[in-house]
């Protein structure tokens, strides 16, 4: 399955191999891996809780994958997003895009992340020394998604 929502970690090489094994028409694979950082602004983070909307999450990610495949000639797409309790340095999200040429793979991977950030129903809560704090949505993410709007 190209889209997975899971508590478990993932392995980048395995996911790339799943896209490329047994075929020789792929010239470029771009991956993005998102990780938990231990700082939010000035405050240290001891853990990150990731909540999501089961059912809608898979639908939203599949819709984002379809949109990417409609826009670029892709031989493969993978989106994996974890949920549950994560620690600093843990992997959170993987997207991978495979194409004959690098421009399509780069653009599609950036697009997948921009849309995922603004359309997939996940919410992060940071645990800090002061307690817990829900992460605010970032204007920059809306702007990043906006640049893919078709004119």
């Amino acid at each position: 399955m190209a889209v997975r929502v899971q508590e478990d970690d993932f392995d980048i090489s395995e996911e790339v191999a799943a896209l490329t094994d047994g075929r020789a028409d792929i010239g470029a694979v771009v991956t993005f891996t998102g990780l938990v950082r231990d700082l939010a602004g000035a405050e240290p983070i001891s853990a990150m809780e990731l909540e999501h909307y089961p059912g809608m999450t898979e639908k939203a990610l599949s819709a984002i994958e379809k949109e990417a495949r409609d826009r670029w000639p892709l031989q493969g797409v993978t989106i994996i997003h974890r949920y549950g309790l994560l620690k600093p340095a843990d992997r959170v999200v993987l997207v991978a895009a495979a194409s004959a040429h690098r421009q399509a793979a780069f653009e599609a991977a950036a697009f997948l992340m921009d849309y995922l950030k603004t359309r997939a129903p996940f919410w992060k809560k940071e645990r800090t020394p002061d307690g817990g704090r829900w992460v605010d949505a970032r204007c920059e993410d809306d702007a990043a998604a906006e640049r893919w709007r078709k004119r």
Binding site: G34, L50, E51, H52, Y53, G55, M56, K59, H81, V92, V93, M113, L116, K117, T118, R119, A120, P121, F122, W123, K124, K125, W134, V135, D136, A137, R138, D141
Partner: protein, 82 residues
């Protein structure tokens, strides 16, 4: 109707999910008013609707979207995954 709450909305309302009698609410906005009149927790949670997003049957929707034929409504803050 099945109503879901996520993130700080879930925490403020004190429930992840409930079955709600939508009464004569025809839109999401009217449903929000109905809920706010039911308990102060809703009035607090739904105080600033500009900070709240809505999905009908797991598709994002606007506040004036009609509820007719909908089985599941979800309220949540802007998403922060990735």
């Amino acid at each position: 109707m099945k109503v879901l709450y996520f993130a700080w909305l879930r925490e403020r309302i004190g429930a992840a999910q409930e079955d709600v009698d939508v009464g004569d609410s025809r839109t999401i906005a009217e449903l929000v008013e109905t809920l706010k009149g039911r308990d102060p927790r809703y009035a607090v949670a739904f105080e600033d609707m500009s900070a709240i997003r809505v999905a009908l049957d797991q598709e994002q929707a606007e506040l004036d979207a009609p509820l007719a034929g909908v089985g599941e409504v979800a309220f949540f803050p802007p998403v922060t995954g990735g």
